[in-house]
Subunit: 340 residues, 4 copies
């Protein structure tokens, strides 16, 4: 394994970090050389997650700083920490895949409103490549800094891309999406305490959500138009999984063709015959899409399922790594979901 | 209890029937005299549900036909069975609250398309009163036949009524709603087998659902306009609960006032300050509504929570019974949800 | 309601406090006059739980100290806080029902080992009555201080009582019991964060649990013998519910008779024909017990179900209050479970 | 892949069959050439499970009979079907791994009582090897017929083996074990309908369970003693996962050493420092074991976790296949659990 890509995971003990550990533990071309975790520094991965005891990872210590030199870093960090760490890593010649939102929106002036801080490295916003491979694959090849998309923007943009690519005319977009609880992260909260979340269904961030400008930004880049997105996220009693419904009023009726054509070569985006279920994608890098044109209301309805921690975060980050590094794009992320 | 209202429940061992048993077991003005169940005829209620052993209901046998004379029947039956049974009961002088869809849609010609049968008693469709008390209370008083609304129409129409009542102008309606699994009934299916439904999120009946014409029918009665509804139901891993999001493109911005004004006297519909959660309404007759006007997209977004078996079915049926019979409207349905 | 019993709930916003609010909101002979909550002092109950908006409770403020004079206090407090508050309340002439463990174990010398503090009011340990009505009803009548039993001891002791009452000979007891997550309280923890507890099953406190000496203490009082209990608690993905299995090696085979005889007059303890399920008792004060004698291994196996927050905590506290105050024992706690 | 082992899965669309498909889809030395399913004959795997669309398996048709010649069969069939099919397959020179109970118990005379049928091939009961590799690895090597253990016996026997191997003296065994719902199979039932199983905890088959004689049979083979097992299975709201607690009254206190010594070379059985959680083993072939000696009651308490469909069924079947065929024992079954 001398020639393996040496990888460091910052924030290794949050959900996206743990998912990266799981995926990369068996990735043939990668060796995790450092796992950074402030919370658990001093422990070993297998102290927290005993099932790693058979893996070489069990010997990788959790530490406050990287313990060995590396080629590429995954940042599973708070937005502001990623913001500041990224330029330093780039200067040192590392490649960076940032799973936070720090470099996702090209319009840096939106950060104060949506992220609560001034963006201090606006010069990097155009250097960063938005890591949605089915749309931006060519730019990802050879990129040094990839901004890994948010979970909602991933599923929503994959649901919208065939329209945008084809120049279909429409004026409004509603994204109504349901997430499993892990999308809110590992930090405990009262609402997500097991007894309170069981059998609970709720909307949140109805008035403002960080993923709205992220969607709009990419839509504008693809369509040159300022289309506003009405986005309503919900959370339900499921650990993982994300189901999005996108509504577009349009006269374009041939939408199944549009979707088949757009994704016919894609391994991780599949157009399906029946509305998809999240159970079929959990633990995978798949996005299943069901496009439907409702003639009664002249509305395109696109229903799509991903794993918020898979295609919506960590396995997509690995897909980006594979593309950046010229590795087979599906290496390490071909696994199938558990059923049931 | 000589003077109690004598009630018969047809279909007593499905979910809406069992919920009626639970509610009516402690209703001061009601005595359940018969419980009809083909599946479990010959058994007693407490054979199936041992927690009824302290109740007088434990002695009520489950039978194929009613065992005693009664004043009012709740029909928790398949649509076609309700359709045929209702006229017979009315002729015998009984009052009827039908929880099926057999008498909900005033336009009888829609039944073949949406219910798969010809409506054989169209003459009763205008005789039946649509049992949404907050909208049709006056008609329910003294009605002989109440068509108890579907769960989705209940929550959607309560979300729309303030606009319709006020004559707010709009042209399209999207109803995107999430239900607990009990909404699909007690009959087992592969999808709803526990191991397959755990951690699963899915849309269903995306192309056609019986509740769409039911919503449109009431909207037309209230607005005199033919507005089509785009309706997308989803199901998530929760036994009970329903969360609806209604989207209306409109210039009318004062929607919170509209909602407060409409529901200020209502005991079971409350306008809330934060998006509601279903946990707060399960087991109750409450509907919590959060109206929000999104100025970015000129869209009214109304998020509402009910218990699909409560306000969406059985407790609303009891509310209707109370109104029909001149009993205090909230008798028997004031209970609070379990938390957690 | 002039003559109503005036009640104060200390710790009103934890799970046992909220459950007391739910039950007592509709109790005919009780008025909650104060609700103490340090965490939420200054708010109103309906700020936290909007479904209380129809109740008189919505106007009861949450406060650091009681706002009105009262007759009886429920203490839903940490053990040490209850320990110190109780004597003060008794001196002021209040009746006290303590839901903590501070006064449950008659042998005060066990507190340092099992609770981590020295018991500073040992003189009250014999004054306190152990509030398991089916065993100690006569002592509860007229008691001033009732120590409300732990959830596991409630279900285990009800499973053991017929043996102890009859003087059946045995030497060892295994209690293997499964709890819903709410038994661990409302404070968030990593393990009980929704995404981590979903689909998770685990044992905890295997080496030492506070409820072990509580069980042994009562067993000794009833049998005059020092029988050690081997107790293994587990937690599973359910908000509420507790299922206990008690194993006793014995030659006594007629155990169903023993159980029927013991509980034949009891309203809240029912001997059932099939192993019980927790779904049938959630939200209620019921205990369903299934006693079975295994002739292959000469072992009595007793399987029992309660709601850990009901008969295991708050509804049992109300049962105790009813008995103490000479109210009908089942007032306010006759409600039935939701099904499903 | 010319040289790959050609495998046929009978009963490919039940839970153990689907789990085998998932595991073997990526097994380097195996090619699934036939998938037998009566229920879905005529369809393709990816019609049922769209996530197989990228795999060569998507082209394997589901059929009533095998479509191609094969070397080894996995039988995921009803007991009686396996019973009759096995001799036929053996005669044709196939190797067989039977996941049913048809060949697990060496004492054929127990079948009528526990399985409800007369065993018609008793001559094969000693030919069959009990497929618990950590105990019978040497016999599995080169076996033609492996009886893959039941889920409960797997976890219970791994919890007992160190005592039996060492000849520790004891007279009674209690096995109290909790399973996820998938253990009951894919066939829908009223109890396991999602709305009824949510938040439900129950014991079942308390008086008699097929896995009891299976445990006793292996215990006798290992200890030459007739020790009866008291076994109480429970089911809780989880799709997968199994947590077993074994109680053995004994004076042998050094049990942690015993367990470490027994399993020190094993890759799939790990002795852990804290009571294990099922979340850490779901989707894997791991068994985590926590042995504890309770000095208060002179009882060994062994708590162990497996995935009932993994080490308790399909991944253990693959482990057996690897051993039978001389493949690396862990090939294809090294995957890690999803967390969360």
């Amino acid at each position: 394994m001398e020639q393996a890509l040496r990888v460091c995971i910052y924030g290794a003990t949050g959900y996206t970090g743990i998912e990266l550990l799981r995926i990369l533990a068996h990735h043939h071309y990668v060796r995790i050389v450092s796992a950074v975790s402030r919370t658990y520094a001093g422990k070993h991965i297998s102290d927290l997650l005993p099932y790693f005891s058979n893996s070489y990872l069990s010997k990788v210590p959790l530490s406050e700083e990287p313990q060995e030199d590396f080629d590429l870093a995954f940042l599973c960090l708070p937005h502001e920490t990623s913001l500041e760490l990224t330029p330093t890593l780039l200067e040192k010649g590392k490649s960076v895949i940032d799973l936070s939102g720090a470099y996702r929106i090209s319009r840096g002036e939106l950060y104060p409103e949506f992220y609560g801080f001034e963006h201090t490295h606006k010069e990097l916003l155009n250097f960063a490549v938005y890591g949605l491979p089915e749309i931006f694959r060519n730019s990802i090849k050879g990129a040094r800094l990839v901004a890994n998309p948010g979970c909602y923007p991933t599923v929503a943009l994959l649901s919208l891309y065939p329209f945008l690519r084809e120049g279909v005319d429409f004026d409004s977009i509603i994204v109504d999406a349901i997430s499993g609880v892990s999308g809110a992260g590992r930090k405990t909260t009262q609402h997500f305490h097991y007894p309170e979340m069981e059998q609970n269904i709720m909307a949140y961030s109805v008035q403002k959500h960080r993923h709205t400008p992220e969607m709009e930004d990419v839509i504008k880049r693809l369509s040159r138009r300022d289309i506003k997105v009405r986005f309503t996220p919900k959370v339900v009693p499921a650990s993982r999984g994300m189901l999005s419904t996108v509504y577009i009023p349009t006269q374009e009726k041939r939408i199944r063709d549009l979707f088949y054509e757009t994704y016919k070569e894609e391994k991780f985006v599949k157009v399906v015959q029946e509305p998809p279920m999240t159970k079929h994608v959990i633990g995978t890098n798949m996005c299943l899409i069901y496009p439907y044109y409702d003639e009664r209301t002249d509305t395109a309805v696109v229903i799509s399922a991903i794993d918020n921690l898979g295609k919506g975060a960590s396995s997509q980050a690995v897909q980006n790594m594979n593309i950046m590094m010229g590795i087979d794009e599906s290496a390490g992320i071909e696994n199938l979901p558990l059923f049931p």
